[in-house]
């Protein structure tokens, strides 16, 4: 599936958002989080990030792609983060790429960065003990068929352990 349908109504980045993203990108280039690669595009507002499954985990040797879209008032608002193409098989990741992770929604803090989000996602993958879709995958994905953003979902977070 293509995730590019989300966020069509997005406005251009505010001055503060653009400034901060530029700084994040510069910092990323100097010091990227381990296991991630930012795919260079000409867009500051949408980042495509390669994720490499960590060694000695269920996802070792696998490669995934994250699409990160930034709202006009980032970082006062969380970015929208979804997996593209084939998302990892994981109890908190739906087959449409949506990720059930509290920091992306209710627990967002503007002190977090793309880098810290990436580290959270990789740690979520690495601590997984089973490769499976969430139990409500079919139903959830059906509900999102109209291209709804995961940020519009009313999430109930599965548990804090994984």
């Amino acid at each position: 599936m293509s995730s590019s349908g989300y966020g069509q109504k997005e406005k251009v980045l505010s001055r503060i958002a653009a400034n901060r993203l530029q700084k994040e990108l510069t910092e990323w280039q100097v010091n990227p989080p381990c296991g991630f690669r930012h795919r260079v595009t000409d867009s500051l507002q949408r980042w495509i990030i390669e994720v490499h499954g960590a060694p000695n985990t269920l996802y070792e040797g696998e490669e995934f792609h994250l699409q990160v879209d930034f709202p006009e008032h980032y970082p006062m608002e969380a970015p929208q983060v979804v997996f593209m193409q084939i998302p990892p098989l994981h109890p908190h990741i739906y087959s449409n790429g949506h990720i059930c992770l509290d920091i992306l929604y209710d627990s967002w803090s503007p002190a977090m960065t793309v880098s810290s989000i990436c580290i959270s996602i990789l740690s979520m993958l690495s601590s997984s003990t089973v490769k499976a879709r969430p139990p409500d995958d079919d139903q959830y994905v059906r509900n999102c068929r109209n291209g709804r953003s995961p940020k519009e979902t009313r999430w109930w977070f599965h548990d804090d352990k994984v």
């Binding site: 400034n19 901060r20 700084k23 006062m76 608002e77 967002w108 803090s109 503007p110």
Partner: protein, 326 residues
């Protein structure tokens, strides 16, 4: 009997309110008219002057804006808006020094201001632009001066080196003359007898000849070594002198962790974390009542200015003008 008209103060207030209404609707001419009448009635109210100055600013009538700001500041020297507009007017006239002084003053007065009239970011952007331009001009001048100084020092050192070198050669040729030295390159043109004569002739002076030659070589070596050392030291000195004018990184402790930008109005939370005031207040209003980093509960009235960081930023900026770049 004439109807009682309100006191001049009341009338002037009324006219100012009218002016504000016009201003909001973008009717600058009418607003100026109203403020002018208010000023005629009560010339001692600074707000009438600053409001009119704001209209002139919008119309880019900088001379008039400047005059009104000066009037207002004479009545009250602590008006953020008047210092700000005056700074802008002076920038238009390319009076960078005075302009930045007034913008700096406006920034100082504006820090910690109430939400409605908070204009620190606006002032900062103008100040940063002006300071950056100022720095560019000065840095280019410093670079040119240092380059010229370096070039002329190099020439002097080179001259000195060459002089010493010549002296050494002169000295040695005198020695050579004394010892009857002949150029060995010419040996090939000599006949066999001459060659053997040369060797015989040369033989008795060989010892002292070698010693002198070695001494000369050692001196030459020393001279060249000293010269190279001095060149290196000069490079280092000029490199250090030029360092403050080379753009670098603003240290993390002078940047807000949310905006990732240098502090304008730093405030500290009970958790001990420092943030940019406007950014933190926006977070508390839009995201939640918690410290963005520690997630401890936080209310707007709990934040306090961080004066030490403010001073550290000021010191850093005064030494690193490039950091004003937006």
């Amino acid at each position: 009997m004439a109807r009682e008209i309100g006191s001049p103060e009341k009338q002037a207030e009324f006219l100012k309110d009218q002016g504000n209404q016009y201003f909001k609707k973008g009717k600058l001419g009418a607003a100026i008219e109203a403020y002018t009448q208010a000023i005629d009635l009560c010339p001692k109210v600074p707000a009438f002057w600053t409001n009119r100055a704001l209209c002139y600013k919008k119309r880019s009538e900088w001379d008039k804006a400047e005059r009104d700001c000066l009037k207002a500041l004479k009545l009250d020297n602590s008006l953020t808006k008047a210092h700000y507009i005056l700074g802008l007017a002076l920038l238009e006239r390319e009076q960078y020094h005075d302009a930045t002084n007034h913008l700096e003053k406006a920034l100082d007065l504006g820090r910690g201001g109430s939400a409605g009239s908070y204009m620190v970011e606006e002032i900062w952007l103008e100040l940063a632009k002006a300071r950056y331009t100022e720095w560019q001009v000065e840095a280019a001048k410093r670079q040119r001066q240092q380059r010229e100084l370096k070039d002329s020092l190099f020439d002097l050192m080179m001259q000195d080196y060459e002089n010493k070198l010549r002296d050494l050669k002169l000295e040695s040729s005198t020695e050579q003359a004394q010892f009857g030295y002949r150029d060995p390159n010419r040996v090939s043109h000599l006949t066999d007898e001459e060659v053997s004569a040369y060797h015989i002739e040369r033989h008795p002076v060989k010892e002292s000849q070698v010693t002198a030659e070695e001494r000369r070589k050692a001196e030459l070596f020393q001279l060249t070594g000293d010269f190279q050392d001095r060149l290196r030291t000069m490079e280092e000195v000029f490199d250090k002198a030029g360092a403050p004018d080379r753009p670098g990184e603003v240290p993390d402790y002078l940047c807000c962790q949310i905006s990732m930008d240098i502090f304008r109005d730093p405030v500290i939370t009970p958790s001990g974390v420092t943030y940019e005031r406007s950014i933190l207040l926006e977070h508390l209003c839009k995201v939640g009542k918690f410290d963005p980093i520690t997630r401890a509960t936080l209310h707007p009235e709990q934040v306090a200015p961080n004066l030490a960081v403010k001073d550290a930023v000021q010191t850093f900026l005064s030494q690193n003008g490039w950091a004003y770049k937006m």
